[in-house]
Symmetry: C2
Subunit: 165 residues, 2 copies
DNA sequence: CGATGATAGTTATAATATAACACTTCAACT
DNA sequence: AGTTGAAGTGTTATATTATAACTATCATCG
């Protein structure tokens, strides 16, 4: 970790960014969020959230289960799913339906459905700003007089780093 | 089918429409599509597609398995999944990722990702016209220099019939 | 006919998710 | 401090969804 040169493209998130900061931010936001809602941010919940945030990639429930087993005892599928449900309900993680996997929510703010770009090559997932997309989708739904409650928007393809040049 | 008066709102699909025609259309389109591509539209494939088209609602693989077992022998999960895969690859059915279920494709034409309105109350699913939405999503992805290959767009909520008045 | 590849059958198992109930912890109240 | 009730977690069992690997059958073409 004492390397000094990092010559890289600005878009190369995995190289450029201080991911420790992502994790810190996510955890402290979670803490705050739970406090606001009178919920307890327990050790288990913190550990699961940390594991989900280990990368900007989808975390599978049973992989989380394995990793969690390394750091505490008495871990079963229920443990993981219950905790993920809790985190989801508070908007701290999202489920990626097309992958049966979970990612940390990177939109600090209000309740929202996540909208995702999913790279098929490197697996990185980016949650994109959603108000514009939500407005578009609502207008499309409105044409059918349909009232949207939750949006699943998962766009798979190639991120810039993985596109052939 | 000899009723003469149909006083209903144009949006009430389940009341207004001749679903037999939906099925006929889907089957003949499938036949044509397979012919074009040099694929065989076998009895099994036809039966599965018919079952998927039984309603404008999501069909679960294991429900299809049960129904299929009633009309032929030697049916196993593999049978159903393999056939659904075949139909999906030809754009004849779509998988609804958020429900782990399948619906018939109602967009005769080109290869496309489906975009869906899913009623949480009555389960009806409507595939909506997608070129506009696709264009929007592509522009959003473009902002991140992301190249979309497949779109999962599933909007859950209430259809007009199920909205409280 | 007999070779060939596609289709379908068969058996087993993997991967994902939930149910039901018991035990523990923690905060609020006396 | 002791009581209590709800929230959190542990435990066991099972349901649901999906795939792998191999075999048998069928359709087509030379
Ligand atoms: Zn990060
Ligand atoms: Zn990538
Ligand atoms: Zn119909
Ligand atoms: Zn409805």
């Amino acid at each position: 970790m004492s390397k000094t040169s990092q010559p890289k493209r600005k878009t190369e998130r995995s190289l450029k960014h201080n991911h420790g900061a992502c994790i810190e931010t996510a955890l402290s936001r979670a803490e705050q969020r739970c406090a606001e809602e009178g919920e307890r941010f327990t050790g288990l919940r913190r550990q699961v959230l940390e594991l989900v945030w280990a990368e900007h990639k989808p975390a599978k429930a049973y992989d989380l289960l394995k990793k969690l087993s390394d750091i505490r005892s008495g871990v079963a599928p229920t443990t993981v799913y219950r905790t993920l449900d809790f985190l989801q309900e508070r908007g701290l993680v999202h489920k990626i339906e097309s992958l049966n996997a979970y990612v940390g929510c990177s939109q600090p703010n209000a309740e929202h459905s996540g909208h995702f770009l999913i790279c098929e090559a490197c697996s990185e997932i980016k949650e994109i700003e959603n108000s514009k997309i939500s407005a578009w989708l609502e207008s499309a739904a409105q044409d059918e007089e349909f009232k949207i409650k939750t949006e699943t928007v998962e766009l798979s393809g190639l991120c810039i780093r993985c596109q052939p040049s």
